[in-house]
């Protein structure tokens, strides 16, 4: 059937089972928006306030569902506004397809109005990208783009289409999308023998798992693997939810703000098994002392991650679920009573506890929100101190329920991502924990949530400062608080209400309890809960930059002494 390019775009989205897209119209993309008008009963378009919000929403949709998220923007500034969101998805291996339109073929390369080389700009932050210059290329390119985004190690793909290609006509024939089979092993039997030998020889094995478990849907396999080899499990930030936080074998998060138990386990283990985590600098801290007494096995879907940041003794390449199934099938049950006893001893001695005191502190706030929101809630965060407090204290039990910008550390990620998660899970509770710095970055998206009647709960950990940067200034820059004291005149309640949300400002636990329960009852608009907290809270434990993970700072006394 002959169709115009814009209609083919919409048909291709339908082919892929896309039900929701997040976007913003503009001149170059007028034809595609004309098609959105025509297809409005079939595809839901959520109009954000800014294209960055659309990119984060597509990301939140993808992380919370495992399906490819889609965002749409026009040429020039529309396209460049997506870039931070695309880079965020790239760093955390999130499958999104970003669709932009560009000026017509005859205007390309002429510095035309709203022309920008978005394919060139996004080359380093996409898995792949395309420039489509004629209508007949649209369908095959879209099919390929969705496949690339979702296969192997997932990631963002950008498709830029010239305006005349969206107007041009081409033959379109509906196709059923190719089934993507990520359940694959690259390593052979001998590689498995080697790793199994190492595991069976180990007396103190330690599992480090990351986002790869979640991407592969391998949480069940990980749990079985843990039971089989009787080893403790730490999670990288991106992996939170891959193993239940309440499980006795869970040592907590690992890395710069991980638990002391995770640090001690890294120090004392004789075998570290990393599954689906990329040994990020925030996890390993100083690479020279990381797991220095241990043999290291690295399991990853991406061969290029092997020996990139940490040299390993053995590796297995493949989808985490496939690798773990194979290991589980071949491994004999192990028992490490003494080692597991040591772990639980450390957990008791060094519990994850907020050390700064006060009744209304980050720990009590996060735990109260979790108590009311429950294990099924989706937790989104912005970036900074509140992000780490949320990661430390919320206790994520399930995969795909923790959405946070781990790799890029994008302030302003939260509201957009929460919109994506809530639109994919309309009946669930979606909580975004943010800070007053992050709130000001993308607060305009609250109006998007209000317009869409999305009941996201936006909690601001409001300490009047850019807390994480300030923490570094306090510890390493002689308390020279350069540009981190905000002192904004913002009336949070008024702004939130002005954008269509409910609003509460709370200063103690009773007020917080009330605000959260009111927010949970509200199902037709967002609620902002502004928690006014002390500006001197620290995120602890903390491994200062360049230091060994083995000795994190556990506490900072009132006179500034570090307790390790």
């Amino acid at each position: 059937m002959i169709k115009n390019g814009a209609d083919i775009v919409l048909e291709c989205l339908l082919e892929q089972g896309v039900d929701t897209v997040f976007g913003y119209p503009g001149g170059a993309i007028l034809n595609v928006y004309d098609a959105f008008y025509k297809y409005s009963g079939k595809i839901r378009h959520i109009l954000t306030s800014h294209e960055q919000g659309a990119a984060h929403a597509a990301d939140g949709y993808a992380r919370s569902t495992g399906r490819v998220g889609v965002c749409v923007a026009t040429s020039g500034p529309g396209a460049t506004n997506l870039v931070t969101g695309i880079a965020t998805a790239y760093m955390d291996s999130v499958p999104i397809v970003a669709i932009t339109c560009n000026v017509a073929n005859n205007l390309l390369g002429k510095d035309s109005f709203q022309e920008v080389d978005i394919v060139g700009i996004t080359m380093p932050v996409t898995k792949h990208n395309f420039l489509i210059k004629s209508a007949e290329d649209i369908a095959p390119t879209f099919r390929r783009a969705f496949k690339i985004a979702a296969s192997g190690r997932p990631g963002p793909v950008l498709i830029d289409i010239t305006k005349d290609a969206t107007a041009g006509e081409a033959e379109y024939k509906k196709e059923i999308p190719e089934r993507i089979d990520n359940y694959k092993l690259e390593s052979d039997s001998a590689d498995f023998d080697e790793v199994i030998g190492m595991i069976e020889k180990s007396e103190r094995p330690f599992i480090l798992a990351g986002g790869g478990i979640i991407a592969a849907g391998a949480a069940k396999q990980l749990h079985k693997f843990q039971k089989t080899i009787d080893a403790p499990v730490a999670l990288a930030t991106m992996g939170l939810g891959a193993f239940p936080a309440s499980d006795p074998a869970f040592t907590g998060m690992i890395g710069m703000h991980g638990t002391k138990t995770s640090s001690l386990a890294i120090k004392h283990c004789d075998l570290l098994i990393n599954i689906g985590s990329r040994f990020s600098d925030r996890v390993i801290c100083n690479p020279k002392t990381f797991a220095r007494r241990a043999k290291i096995v690295h399991i990853d879907v991406d061969r290029a991650e092997i020996n990139k940041n940490i040299f390993t003794d053995a590796h297995l390449i493949g989808d985490a679920a496939a690798v773990l199934d194979e290991l589980n099938k071949r491994l004999h049950k192990q028992k490490h009573t003494e080692w597991m006893g040591k772990i639980s001893g450390w957990k008791e001695k060094y519990p994850m506890k907020y050390s700064g005191g006060g009744e209304f502190n980050p720990e009590t706030i996060i735990k109260e929100i979790k108590r009311q929101a429950g294990d099924d809630s989706y937790l989104v965060t912005d970036v900074g101190q509140h992000q780490m407090w949320a990661a430390q204290f919320y206790g994520i039990e399930k995969p795909r329920h923790f959405l946070s910008s781990g790799g890029l550390g994008t302030m302003g990620y939260g509201v957009g991502a929460a919109i994506g998660a809530q639109s994919a899970h309309p009946d669930s509770v979606v909580v975004n924990i943010s800070g007053d710095g992050c709130f000001h970055m993308n607060l305009q998206e609250l109006s998007t949530a209000a317009t869409q009647k999305l009941p996201i709960i936006d909690v601001i950990m409001n300490n009047n400062v850019l807390g994480m940067v300030r923490q570094w200034q306090r510890l390493f820059y002689g308390e020279r608080f350069s540009q981190t004291t905000l002192n904004k005149p913002t009336d949070y309640d008024m702004v939130s209400k002005g954008l269509g949300a409910n609003a509460f400002t709370v200063t103690n636990m009773d007020e917080l309890k009330h605000a959260v329960s009111e927010a949970l009852k509200t199902r037709n608009k967002p609620t902002v809960i502004n928690c006014v907290i002390n500006q001197d809270h620290n995120v602890l434990p903390m491994v200062p930059g360049g230091e060994s993970i083995e000795e994190p700072i556990l506490e900072i006394t009132t006179d500034g002494k570090e307790v390790r």
Binding site: P124, H128, D302, A304, I306, N307
Partner: protein
Amino acid sequence: MSGIITNPVPENSQDKREMHVLSIHVDNHAGVLSRIAGLFSRRMYNIDSLSVGVTEDPKISRMTIVTHADENTFHQIQNQLAKLEDVKHICELHKDQAVLREHVLIKVNNKDTTAIMQICQIFRANVVDVSKKLLTLELTGGPSKITAFIDLMEQFEIEGLVRTGLTGLKRGSTTEAEEAALNE
């Protein structure tokens, strides 16, 4: 393209970096060159030279990249390249198992024509342009031959010089198609 040095080799004897020649089959369309060059520069890999041209199949181009890298970095380079959608096939060209050639054009001052011609004869270089003031010479050969020739020409004052960067093919009886199939 030559000398896009992102991470120059320091003159220190501890350096374990060695020269490697990579031959890469890529889709022949716009943007491929910047994808490859961009990967090298953003990951701090070094490029000594890069040459690119179409192959027997017009849909495929071949890039020959000369890089200095230690063993682990060289593995990283190959693994990262393999992730690019446009990259179809990668192989390393070892000096003793491949024909490696470079082409150079040199403009020298035409003061001592006889001496220049004698050296050209030894190297089998050709004179491709001549004027009262300048001689333009061309030479094809392996990298060391080219370098030696340039060194000798320096005494005549080089007024202009261009090297294509290395390019090459594996020796032996395996066809390109067989080689690609073997790699898959």
